[in-house]
Amino acid sequence: MGLLSGMTASQSFAADTTGYKALVCLFLFGGMDHGDTILPFDLTSYNQLNTTRDGLFNAYGVGSGISSRDRANLLQLLPIGDTTPLGGRDFALPRELEPLNTLFNDGDLAIVGSVGPLIQPTTRAEFEARSVPLPARLFSHNDQQSTWQTLGTEGAVFGWGGRFIDAASAANVNLNSRFAAITSGSNSVFLSGQNVQPYSVPAGGPRRINVVNNRSVISSNNAFDNTRSMLFDFLRRNDTGAGSAFARDVAALQSEGIISGNDFADAFARANVDTAFPNTSLGRQLDSVANTISIRNTAQLTGTNRQIFFVGIGGFDSHSNQANSLPSRHSEIAGAVSAFRNSMVELGAWNDVTLFTASDFGRTLNDNGDGTDHGWAGHHFVAGGSVQGQQIFGNLASSDPDSAEYTASRGRLIPTVSVEQYAATLGGWFGLDDTELDGALPNLSNFSNRDLGFMA
């Protein structure tokens, strides 16, 4: 179609939109401590971390024999593939992440180390000297959440998830993008594109308008059918003659919500996932995602060949009390992601779906007594049937805060993998070509390695 519409070569849209593929972004709000998620396991590295994080390890009761951070209680990762970059070091997950350890060792999950925002490859010396361009407002929650999602600080209005859908839609006019970008509730700028806006499907599924759909609200008497019908028209009317742009925006959103909501609810009534999810916030969100994927072939979603989902949980800003807060967050992630994998296997869609984690930033290697502070790079998980599982990509840093892997202050890990490389690897699997990836990821061309290899 690119040729027919007279596009030049650099503008040609060639995204592969055959079959069905979905990405699921799991955002861990607050900045998850990568150093307390993927722990060193070989004795030397483990002991070094114990020294560096004396306060935190004490808070965990390390040495008691029953602490989840006692080395004997960690779950070793057994990576395959090229482990040379690990330099003979071993790594492990805490027991709260046991289901992810199983996914890893079964080949359904990969780890990507030291991922964070970068404009171009950056060393410690370059960072300290400010001799290369750096992402703005590092270490600030809202700006780094925005940067992960949009590659710009707060106020940016296009996310790379939305741009991926834009590219897929431009390449295939028959692609149905109405329900292509789906968030579980929060307004994720990640899914906003030029031509696509996120559709919100809350945990528990879509809701209808009770005053119209529940006859008992006004009166079950037929005498009020006209009222219901006119009320419905009123609520979904977009052209309301409102005097302010703010009011017109609300009307448009309300109209879209009601019209799409009814169609979506009709389709959702046929959702058929049997897998049980944990009754946690993330469990309920991923349950909705799984059920939404289960209706991808219904009439209302015909042509929805590409979907991107956004789910998230908070509670990772563990400045204090990390030994109590992080393990329960880990359990929530592991339980929900494991159930999600089972549901996709049930639907026969596991090879078509890739879930990946994202977070504001990692955290300082030096603790503050019983918690950790804002860092930069962090380690991330990618799960799916098409993931090159049981492998570790990128850099899993040492436990020495004086190492050049960290900034000079407090052990803030410097990324060796940019968010855009991470995104490009996912986008390539999703079907985008190099031109489309460069369009969605403005600094990608500053990096020689555009495909980290973690997708089949």
């Binding site: 020294t51 004396d54 306060g55 600030s140 929650h141 809202n142 106020g155 209005v157 296009f158 939305g162 968030t183 509730g185 307004n187 906003s192 919100s200 809350p202 879509p206 809701r207 308008i209 009770n210 005053v211 609200v217 006004i218 009166s219 005498a223 009020f224 006209n226 009222t227 006119m230 009320l231 028209d233 009123f234 609520l235 009317r237 052209d239 003659g241 409102a242 005097g243 742009a245 703010f246 009011a247 925006d249 609300v250 009307a251 959103l253 309300q254 919500g257 800003d317 400045h319 204090s320 300082t364 030096n366 603790d367 503050n368 007594g369 918690g371 502070d373 804002h374 900034t407 202050s409």
Partner: protein, 565 residues
């Protein structure tokens, strides 16, 4: 543990519902109203609009009382009312085990929004609660929350510098931003002070991330780039200041708080306070300076920063009057914050002439000429998106809900779920970043294309708007029974009297709820729907009530009600 008998005892101590202030005519030492002045309130629609900005919404009585008065005199009366306070009532409700009714602080605040007489102050409490944000589980912290609500209520018309100090010493803020029992660093282990409050008190509560001009536009460097206000080194230096704070009453830094320790200001434990030099933002606090003195010097440094006036002024404007205020308006308000004094058109003077005076700042926000000249009518720089809590409470006030029924409303226990409730609950923002960001621009919208900030749109989406309509439907149609106890019963008597004449009914609601900003299309659609809603012989009363309820839910779902204009 919740005990029914305690709750009954407790809530009979609650405030009674009453109006939202009387008209300017009745001001003590009032300046006689002068119809030639801009701030003179000549009509009911002007009164309705002003009350939507300055209170949780006007009732018919509030509106009528204000007509013929001056907005400045209304403010003067509000500034002089004694504050609604919370802590004493929460403490009185404590049971013999020392536990509190878990809903107590929240219910008392709902009651205040709906029924308290100090409406402007409580609206300011809501605004301040979204700038100096607590994000912490209320369970077992009811007294700590109530004490914080008192801090905001007492200081609502005081000075921002004083407020910031009380906030810094508040146990619930220290727990929320994790500097409670924050220890000085330990060079032997590498332990460093917690940076959380150091960072957020700058980013969110005083100076912000980027250098500002006096009108809150960005200062730019010679390359045309914004200038960051602080670096990581500043955070590391400042983090040393907020060490050594723990509960008053304990013998030691780590002692568990006693039954009366969670609501009193924190104290400094010198052994745990960093004795090192503290260097940040160009200020150096000498080594060995005491904790108390270090905090005072720190707050003086932050408060003296030129960003404070535009930064705080813009945030307050967004909570009262305009989601995307233009620089000129912000500049006028920020200048008042700087001077600490505002003179209304009728000569009424507000403020103490101290920089950071919040009464003067509020007067500048609410009495800005743009709102009284007619210029703001269709100007998006003078329109605020009405956030969900304001949408709900305005309905309750407009239709005479008895605030004492709040504890019977099980849904008000938590209105945070966007899919089924409001997606917002006072004092329960999901993080210190509040429910939404002040710089949020909504993608894919007309306002976004026009580069207008719309914080409130960050929690508005396809599912939350459906959730809002469903939540309001249950209240409007009085479908919220809670186990047979009396719950919110709207008083539609004035509207029932108009049910036979849809045009008059719509006129009534358009005035009461939207200050007559309802569009012609919206009005005619509601009228047509009401005309199609039969009043049948033999069931006239029931059918009139249905008509009114249908009219009210349509008004509440109309675009005009989505904004304060």
């Amino acid at each position: 543990m919740i005990r029914a008998s305690v709750i009954v005892l407790f809530y009979t101590l609650g405030i009674t519902a009453c109006g939202g202030g009387s008209g300017g005519n009745n001001a003590p030492n009032g300046i006689p109203p002068d119809p030639s002045l801009a701030t003179f309130i000549a009509t009911e629609e002007e009164a309705s609009r002003f009350l939507a900005r300055a209170s949780f919404g006007g009732s018919t009585q509030n509106i009528e009382n204000l007509v013929g008065g001056d907005a400045a005199e209304w403010l003067s009366i509000e500034f002089n009312k004694s504050p609604t306070l919370y802590l004493d009532r929460v403490l009185q409700a404590r049971d013999s085990d020392g536990d509190f009714p878990s809903r107590a602080p929240s219910d008392l605040y709902w009651q205040a929004t709906i029924g308290s007489n100090d409406q402007l102050r409580q609206r300011m409490v809501f605004a301040l609660s979204q700038i100096l944000v607590i994000s912490h589980d209320v369970n077992n912290r009811e007294d700590s929350f109530a004490a914080y609500m008192d801090v905001l209520s007492r200081n609502a018309f005081g000075n921002y510098r004083d407020l910031l100090k009380e906030v810094t010493y508040s146990p619930i803020m220290a727990e929320s931003l994790t500097y409670l029992r924050n220890r000085k660093g330990n060079p032997n282990t590498g332990r460093m002070p917690d940076e959380n409050y150091a960072r957020e008190v700058m980013q969110l509560m005083s100076i912000g991330l980027l250098e500002l001009n006096p009108d809150a536009t960005l200062r730019l460097d010679t390359n045309g780039m914004p200038i960051e206000t602080y670096s990581t080194d500043d955070v590391v230096g400042l983090a040393r200041v907020f060490t050594g704070l723990s509960f008053d009453g304990g013998q030691s830094f780590f002692q568990r708080p006693g039954v009366n320790d969670r609501y009193r200001p924190l104290i400094l434990f010198p052994n745990e306070h960093s004795a090192l030099e503290k260097s940040f933002l160009g200020t150096t606090i000498a080594a060995e300076t005491s904790g108390e003195e270090s905090i005072d010097m720190t707050l003086d440094t932050l408060f003296a920063h030129p960003n404070v006036a535009p930064f705080i002024s813009r945030l307050l404007i967004q909570r009262f009057t305009a989601s995307s205020p233009n620089p000129a308006y912000v500049g006028r308000v920020a200048a008042t914050f700087e001077s600490g004094q505002f003179t209304a058109p009728n000569g009424r003077v507000f403020g103490t002439r101290s920089r950071g005076d919040l009464a003067a700042t509020l007067a500048a926000i609410l009495l800005d000429p743009a709102f009284f000249s007619g210029a703001s009518t269709q100007n998006d720089n003078f329109i605020k998106v009405r956030e969900p809590v304001l949408r709900f409470v305005h309905w309750a006030r407009a239709f005479g809900i008895n605030a004492n029924d709040v504890p019977n409303e099980s849904r008000l226990n938590n209105t945070s779920d966007p899919a089924q409730r409001l997606g917002q609950h006072p004092f329960r923002a999901p993080s210190v970043f509040n429910f939404y960001s002040p710089g949020y621009i909504a993608p894919g919208t007309e306002t976004g294309q026009n580069n207008l900030t719309a914080p409130e749109f960050q929690i508005a989406n396809t599912s939350s708007l459906t959730g809002y309509i469903n939540f309001m439907t249950d209240y409007v149609f009085d479908r919220t029974p809670s186990g047979g106890t009396e719950s919110f019963t709207p008083n539609y008597s004035a509207q029932l009297a108009l049910a036979d004449t849809p045009q008059a009914l719509v006129d009534n609601l358009a005035l009461l709820l939207t200050g007559n900003r309802m569009s012609t299309i919206t009005r005619s659609e509601i009228i047509n729907t009401l005309n199609a809603t039969p009043i049948r012989q033999g069931s006239e009363d029931d059918d009139r009530l249905r008509r009114v309820e249908v009219a009210v839910i349509m008004a509440l779902a109309s675009p005009a009600y989505a904004v304060i204009n």
